[in-house]
Symmetry: C2
Subunit: 242 residues, 2 copies
């Protein structure tokens, strides 16, 4: 465990157990340096992390304060970036939710302009995949996925029913880096109503996403439409300090 992580997680623990209560002021940076035997920059990095996680607010000249509503922050479960970017499968399993995946369709096509643009492709083919996710025996989302066959070769139905992300990272040895998402509200079409077993007026949370490998290549363009139970996104926004 890195030094700044030790500081971060220790302070989170102290916040959770009430040693540092809501609105209280943390020890100053120099005090924390002494307390943990680390340098000022390391303490600062820990504070950056706490701020990003939404645990504290900082004001230059006066100090660092625990936010008002701090109960049960979990260092590992990082909501600040709006859902961790693992496969859905790994994410659910981490929380003890059972997931089953139904492959509605799976083919190779010439990308539409929209898809080609999102993936920055000039030619070549993409997989076109449509899947339904069943979580704890309840249909909870429909996912439309496009991936260039040149970047992610060798997909099979079996993999789609398991975890694409696992295949990409462990079988292909590629490194997943990040995703850019747009979140909207939308309504289901007829097929989706059937797959998700919902009435026609039921609102869905749509997450459109382009995902990248760590060499910068866009490898996935996907749209996921989530039912209410499943579909909630949490974020933390920091005010721009000028």
């Amino acid at each position: 465990m890195l030094k700044y992580e030790i500081v971060t997680s220790d302070i989170i623990n102290k916040v959770n157990e009430g040693t540092y209560g809501p609105n209280s002021k943390l020890p100053s940076a120099v005090e924390l340096c002494a307390q943990y035997g680390v340098s000022k920059i390391t303490v600062k990095k820990a504070m950056d992390e706490l701020e990003r996680l939404g645990v504290v607010s900082r004001r230059r000249g006066s100090g660092t304060f625990v936010k008002d509503i701090m109960r049960n922050v979990d260092y590992d479960k990082d909501w600040s970036q709006a859902t961790r970017i693992l496969g859905i499968k790994a994410q659910c399993e981490a929380e003890g939710i059972s997931v089953r995946t139904i492959v509605n369709s799976f083919s190779v096509i010439t990308p539409t302009p929209r898809v080609a643009d999102a993936l920055n492709m000039t030619d070549g083919f993409v997989y076109s995949i449509c899947r339904t996710r069943i979580m704890n025996d309840k249909p909870s989302s429909v996912e439309y996925t496009y991936m260039p066959i040149s970047v992610i070769p060798g997909l099979s139905t079996e993999i789609l029913e398991d975890s694409i992300y696992d295949y990409i990272e462990h079988k292909l040895g590629l490194s997943i880096d990040s995703a850019h998402s747009i979140i909207r509200a939308s309504l289901p079409d007829e097929r989706e109503r059937e797959w998700l077993e919902i009435p026609s007026g039921y609102p869905l949370l749509e997450v459109e996403q382009v995902a990248f490998l760590s060499d910068g290549t866009a490898f996935e363009f996907s749209t996921t439409r989530n039912t209410r139970e499943n579909g909630e996104v949490r974020t933390i926004r920091l005010h721009r300090k000028e």
Copy 2:
């Protein structure tokens, strides 16, 4: 302008104008140190920023790469944290959108348990505010806001029609720090359909938010329900590197 900001914005410019094309590799950290005459840590901080803004991906041992789809990133318009946390008014004005605000109701009440909990209040009163936002002459969101009168004294209808955030920062001299949000899809009730001039099946993007001052005090609990045109949230998620 700070040194790391100079580095960050210069690289963003070079990406936008094509000097560093999609998928290309940036100069190494040491090269950039020499190029800008700054230390390694400063370059690293600039790279952290570029990564957070979604411009580059980094891989230890091989380098830093420009992402595939990098067109017109704007350093000031920071989408990475899902909409900057100014008042809606300032946000729209920055983009040349006209905003008008209609105050549907404005009163002081004893907070419901839900509200008191969100604001971590044990006693006292809150303002209860309901407003409709008209953007470019189109009704685009309904906003329900609760604020403790002890924290934000002296609100008036006039302020509500203008900008609460401006009042808080400039008149009260308080410093807004951050906000924690939950995003969902939902449907309008009857009054909302009327205010927003939409049919009954129209899906809304609901953003529930608790906002904090920089001493950690929760000063606002609000729920905003946005129409489709207006309601889109963008985020960038970085993969957890372990």
